[in-house]
Symmetry: D2
Subunit: 437 residues, 4 copies
């Protein structure tokens, strides 16, 4: 049965097509720097935004028209959604997906029943995965929507909630493992605080570290070898989220001796909410060897909340793919569209328009980034710019083999010789040239 | 000679005075929790804003009326300013000050001459310190104003600049040591980047760490035992400053094995530019044992740049002093007014109004914070709120002695028992009651 | 029947009470500048946040514990809520309330049934109003939550929606009139746009003006003499809301000849989202004679969305009441708490803590503002500051009776004589003195 | 004499050139929608950023290398700069420039001397204009940098300052008139306030209106027929600038009966500081018939101050030119590059790279915008989207010829018939297709 009647498999038709249900840039087998586009990009569908996002916002009800959802039986609905999801992915040529436990299945009357329902839905997912060859990029837990998580999960002030959240992660790890998930993400939906007047931040951070250590231990116990990720976000829903940005998370992992077990999952809109560019967060991860996976979306930088828009900004896509290529490409990670259609784009076909827009933007981004790298445009400029660190006093600095006294002698003798312009405007113009000629 | 004619020593006159040149709350010998107010607060004058700040802004020239500055001889002017500074501190009862090397003395034709001039001015400062008993809270270097630092100092792309900056810090450390400075601050004025298109962030961060290690080594060499601080700031002047916030700095110090040698100097306005409250940054430092010193000021949170206003917000002062008291008080650090009179407050007497406003706000803040602690208002609430971690499964979590399997058994057996309200509104109301009854 | 068992009528007990269920400052009959506190403040309950707000946020379900809500019968529930509301207002001494049509009653299967249900609930409200003497400050329409308003109401791209919204406002006007509402508010929940790529802004603004004119006409037709208000908000839910801020709304009213029929309802959190202080928006309205009513709340200025927090910041309360007093006090308007308890303050008693906090903050604010005015603190300073406009060339400027040529003669003759300092720091310190001594 | 040795006239070489000192898109005589590119774009040089901007920022001295500036004689320097400016414009093919009075000439010992110096420099400019055919797009006054304007110019609390500012504008109008300037801009550098504690906002706004009326009167008196513009900006340098955004300015002009005499000069970076997109401000002006001229630059939206960067973002350029074309093109106005090279782009050649980047971005933007319009991409979509307003009840609404009662009948009869998706993602994807295929 087809849920998206009238929509065929989306094909690459190149830039001259007038068909808006076609790819202009994403040609999955096209080779770029020795690898196919699909291997580079590893596009993934987000189950939550795509299947369960209804267009609710703080001022209004859902608007989404989803004919397949029209049943009172929540379990039946969940099974149907799996079918819808795989038809959608097949038609778009998406080879990966990501989910939270609570996206794919409804809760039961208690935890035991909830877990049983989850298993029932995972059976259907597993069959669809076998049928289609589509893979699980990563799984995760929703430990933030239910009222029990009002004060956090691993950072709750209530030990019962910690235990409950741990139990939920345990199960989510098991199903991720069963489905051969390549990774598992922690996004601490309510791991943060609303006011310091009632918060013991030290205790909460310690507990969060304990929580993660226990997860790592359990993964070993069951033989799950997928990559763990933490996804930074600075605010929303809590006033201060502990995983503020990549630097904060990295500092946390170092402090609590978790650095060996985690990489980061960087989301564009979370980067900008923290006051950083998307590229900055990726570059920071790359420099520290923890660039794991990407939640591709974009925010409206004039708005102060997480809008999770479909990524269509070509600059962001080029610079993101540039960082991914510099980092050697994805290993376990990929590009997950943690992005939703606008509330006013409420028809099923808008899901296609949206994914096509996102995929084509990143495909073009990949091609431009690869060309920039192959031509050495920015890398050669940088090589030259930092040349003084290759010999003489610069080389000593790089090696950490000098002293203030020696540097003083150098400064008194040479002062500061020629400093070169940073050429920002020229470089930005060249970036434009690579994008549109 | 008196530069502030007609202004006597500012006295404590209590809340019923009508004199705006008097303290209403700052009564330096008054005991609060077993220590005098002045020992708690350790107020410090910022040399730059107070003596050399002229009210220049990006759209206009200086407005400040400073009769003592009217001379063409820059060295004479610098010496006079020292006298002005000490008269000002004496009249306000300020016992500490802070400076950058380039605040106190003009540059000469080359580095050697510059250093000689610096020594000449330091002679005058030293005499004034002996005369008055006023102490140096910390010294620092200005390695950001001169064009040679256009691409940074320790993170410059040019090794000569690295050496030049090192030489400048070397000298600044020497004079700080000579003046028995209790600390030395690194604020990386241009340690950051303008665009990633031309920046090797990894190399720059490595070099910054090397720079700090060399400084630590040199301090040991000359026997300087003062505390090193890093002062976080997220942006301005560069688009991205590497020392973004406390968490970023702490992660950096951990990565590069510098944590033993550094604490943090937290500035209120830098906190808010990074998207944090002042209290958050202080609490984060406290929890990590690196709360060193404070740059007291306030920003206009509706504006996006560092306005460095005189701190008059009582909430910020209460909550900052609350964190300082929780941390056990200042040791080497203090409250440095890194704050400037508004460009439109251009008369010398405005400097007095400004410092009085700031000092009284923090004095009141101290008294309120002490009372809140003595009454256990928030601490008792928190104690109760986290009580579930004191025994049973909670205690095991705290000890790190549990597993996901055990937690699952707990969750299946107990579920989530009662969760308590966070009571934010009641707590905020109580805070008001402590401030104004 | 009592819904808030164990909570008595909240009494004024003064600043020395330890009872958190008491007023320390709000003493309703206490006279301030010749009028009782309750006449000055005209506190109002917001029906939506108080009765129907469940603590839902974009990342989680409702948390609020509201035992009275537990019924499947939506009409019965609506009637019970009316009783709860009036008990709540009686216990707090609130004399006013505000509502949207959809807060007080559920929708039926079509518009006719919806209107019939509405009438049924209004009957209950009317009886409670008669019983208690509590009054309706203003009514309004929710024309933004239902999916039909996805593209706006009066600014929808679809004429049917325009008609539907008009019909809804027609009915809301009728019930507001029936309940002797003192005013009627337009907050254009989705009157704005998501993207200009699909928006005809000119047509939408013209239609909005037409919509308002039709409302004015209809009010005349039915004899409703209450005050119309527009409530500015800059963003959220739409990317750009047409009623951005007070200046934008005023310009709109002028352009479309609506200025005679409307005043503004200023919300604190909307002011800050637009980049203004709460006081600025009030002052701007005051200067233009359109300061109508206030939605009292506060935002977290470090967050980018409308947090609608209970107002506890004393500075904002003082300066808001200062503007209200300067404007001569409220006539038709009042202080409506468009504020909600935090999601983590989920118990019924938190509603009391919250309103007490807000009411006491504004009561203290009123007392401080009145004292500042009586003492002429700021007004005398301003009088002096602008004195040069009282005579000579200044008086001619004020009268518009000069020319560039005459001004040039003045400037060539006198240049610029003494300019005085703005004394911002001294004034801020004095403000503190009036707040806490 | 050539100041830019080694740099020839910049030529159009098309997208295949490797020369970074060439245009790839700006082909000045190329016809686009019936008009040459240069007629469409009317590029203008900003005298201040280009000739007198030295790379000073709040944390550092100027960095710019400008060999021609090296003289002690300020008048000689000013004359040389004129020559440099015209050589620069000639080489880039810029046909317009803009200036403030204080950019082009130094101040003398008093106003009379200042005016005499100004005349002397204007002589040189006039000769260069005659020699080259380059025209003055608009002139303006700098009434914000000098300390006398610390409290504003037309909104100063001091009547002498009002008179002084008027005198300065009088002279600036005279020289703009003499040079056949096509317009005159008011940007109220310090027309705003720092704190409401000392500000009479009503008086200041009234005075500002008087100031503008006097300017209009004087222009008539001397026969100046150029267009007057106001340039909105929300903050910086003052905390609140009165000309916050386009809507605020328009409301002000309406209130004070100035709408006939003014249009707006929209700056991209000012738009974003006010929380709007550049396109929004242009569209708002277009809809109100006051789109006058453009200050082309771009801000860093993650930073909170006016960065005045060279505009290189193609989306902004396309959408800006789209609005200009929709508005029928520039009449008196043009595209003035109110943009500066980064402080780290300090070589003279960077000025060329920067202008080339900006001009090529807008040239490409023009071509894309024209194609979008010619193909009716967005306009047809909108036409269809609002079709319900063309007949029936919609047409009555548009004509203002209906009532709530009639609308109610319509709603009860028809309810809301089909609502269409807004298709934002598809439209954004199409925009990308027009930019890069």
């Amino acid at each position: 049965m087809a849920f998206f009647n009238g929509i065929d498999k989306i094909k690459f038709e190149g830039i001259n097509t007038t068909n808006q249900l076609a790819f202009r840039h994403y040609n999955q087998e096209e080779m770029v720097m020795g690898k196919s586009m699909k291997e580079h990009l590893k596009f993934s569908m987000s189950y939550w935004h795509t299947l369960t996002g209804m267009g609710v916002d703080p001022f209004g009800q859902g608007t989404a028209i989803r004919p397949w959802d029209e049943t009172e039986d929540k379990i039946e609905q969940a099974k149907t959604r799996v079918k819808v999801a795989f038809e959608f992915m097949e038609k778009l040529g998406l080879e990966y997906f990501c989910f939270h436990d609570r996206d794919i299945a409804p809760e039961g009357k208690d935890l035991a029943e909830t877990n049983a329902i989850l298993d029932e839905i995972v059976d259907v997912i597993e069959m669809e995965m076998q049928r289609t060859g589509i893979k699980l990029l990563w799984g995760t837990t929703n430990a933030f929507s239910h009222p029990r998580f009002v004060h956090g999960a691993g950072t709750s002030c209530n030990a019962d909630v910690f235990a409950y959240a741990a139990t939920q992660v345990k199960k989510a790890l098991e199903i991720t493992h069963r489905l051969n998930g390549a990774g598992y993400v922690f996004w601490g939906g309510r791991e943060g605080y609303e006011t310091l007047l009632n918060t013991n931040m030290g205790l909460e951070l310690d507990n969060l570290a304990t929580f993660l250590h226990l997860a790592v231990d359990y993964a070993k116990e069951i033989g799950f070898k997928g990559q763990f990720y933490i996804e930074p976000k600075p605010k929303e829903p809590t006033k201060h989220q502990y995983d503020f940005d990549a630097a904060t998370v990295l500092g946390f992992l170092r402090k609590y001796d978790l650095l060996d077990s985690f990489k980061l999952n960087i989301e564009a809109n979370h980067a900008t909410l923290a006051g950083h560019t998307f590229q900055h967060e990726l570059a920071f991860c790359r420099e520290n060897g923890v660039l794991g996976s990407i939640d591709a979306n974009q925010g409206d930088i004039l708005l102060g909340w997480d809008t999770d828009q479909i990524p269509t900004n070509i600059y962001d896509a080029v610079l993101a793919m540039y960082e991914v290529l510099l980092a050697g490409g994805f290993t376990t990670g990929g590009l997950n569209f943690d992005a939703k259609v606008r509330r006013a784009s409420f028809e099923p076909i808008d899901l296609f328009y949206a994914y096509i827009a996102g995929m084509d933007t990143f495909a073009k981004g990949l091609k431009v980034a690869a060309k920039l790298l192959e031509d050495g445009v920015f890398e050669n400029f940088k090589e030259e710019r930092y040349a003084s660190y290759k010999s003489g006093i610069g080389a000593k600095i790089r090696a950490g083999k000098t002293t203030f006294t020696e540097l003083e002698q150098h400064a008194l003798q040479y002062g500061v010789r020629e400093i070169a312009s940073g050429r920002q405007e020229m470089l930005e113009n060249i970036l434009n040239q690579y994008i549109y000629g």
